[in-house]
Symmetry: C2
């Protein structure tokens, strides 16, 4: 025996979520059907709506349903500082750590030629246009401390070398091979303050 | 900074799922929006459809989109044996353990007067009608080995005492205070074979 076909399909569909194996998918399906039908309906509707309406901020490429995100719209941020991150989750981690008052740019990934992820997919033309506006004096290349994150930071620094901006990279406290999203706020904050000059060589 | 309002609503909606806290909800929302939009659309559609279409089997009350479930329809099950369980997940665990060839009845809970869960909510009138048909000779009361599960088993045995059926209850191997859904198959199978007569006293 298995569950009915529709319930099996529901369990299979939950596997799309990160960290959800067969047993967790079963618990989720049973929980919604047995005890949380109104909450399940709300979840379905908001997934649908978010996928339809959430896109990229036209200025920084973070995820938002607005054309320009609240942080880009804010008059209280320093336009001379730009922090480049791989994901909105990394951006949130840095904001929650506190201490950074500039703007952001979100790549949504890192360069990965074998997977077909090149400069276009990371919006590097938009980043260059932003730098060409002339306000930015320092770019913090806060890509992940992984091989791909380092390579991406070097690529960006090379690409933008002609604009005369200073590049920096997060310093101590960021574990090699780790992911920014999971670094605690104190470590991240110290790494920001200890950031180092960065060259593309 | 937080995420945009719609993304925050999406994260909040994921909290309806069992075991999903704020950090997991954030990972799920980011994963769907960054990497799994088609899978997310499928998930939303199937949650919607399952909640609309999945109801109770008219005969055994298990969850199914059919009016009568496949197990109730099967000609290969023993009509003289009926196993009463608290949930479809418990039913599946017993089926996967193997060794039981009878039919099922699903309560969807246990008696809990303080929460307003009485005999009606558990479908005990339907269970009595089923026993009154006259085929059933033994009822295995496989409610959870908890205080509430025991009380529910006693209540059912009292209610149906006049019909002259034998009652049994799962025997050794079922840990006190535990939940059937998480008992391994071997233990569950042995407990079935070692089931004991049960009276309502
Ligand atoms: Zn923005
Ligand atoms: Zn049935």
């Amino acid at each position: 025996m298995r569950f009915s076909p529709l319930i099996e399909q529901l369990m299979e569909a939950f596997r799309v979520l990160p960290g959800v194996g067969p047993k967790t998918a079963q618990r989720m399906a049973m929980h919604l059907l047995e005890r949380e039908r109104p909450g399940g309906k709300r979840l379905a509707a908001i997934i649908e709506q978010a996928i339809d309406e959430v896109g990229y901020c036209q200025r920084c490429r973070t995820l938002t349903e607005a054309s320009v995100c609240a942080l880009c719209e804010s008059p209280r941020r320093d336009d001379t500082l730009l922090c480049v991150v791989e994901s909105p989750a990394d951006q949130l981690a840095i904001e929650e750590a506190g201490g950074f008052s500039g703007r952001y740019f979100v790549l949504h990934g890192h360069l990965s030629p074998l997977d077909g992820v090149g400069p276009d997919a990371l919006g590097l033309d938009l980043l260059e246009a932003r730098v060409a506006e002339g306000n930015i004096q320092e770019i913090v290349l806060a890509t992940n401390p992984t091989v791909e994150g380092e390579a991406t930071a070097h690529y960006i620094a090379s690409q933008l070398a002609a604009y005369g901006v200073t590049f920096s990279r997060l310093a101590y406290g960021v574990p090699m091979g780790g992911e920014l999203e999971y670094v605690d706020g104190g470590t991240l904050s110290r790494a920001f303050n200890g950031r180092l000059p960065f060259t593309s060589d």
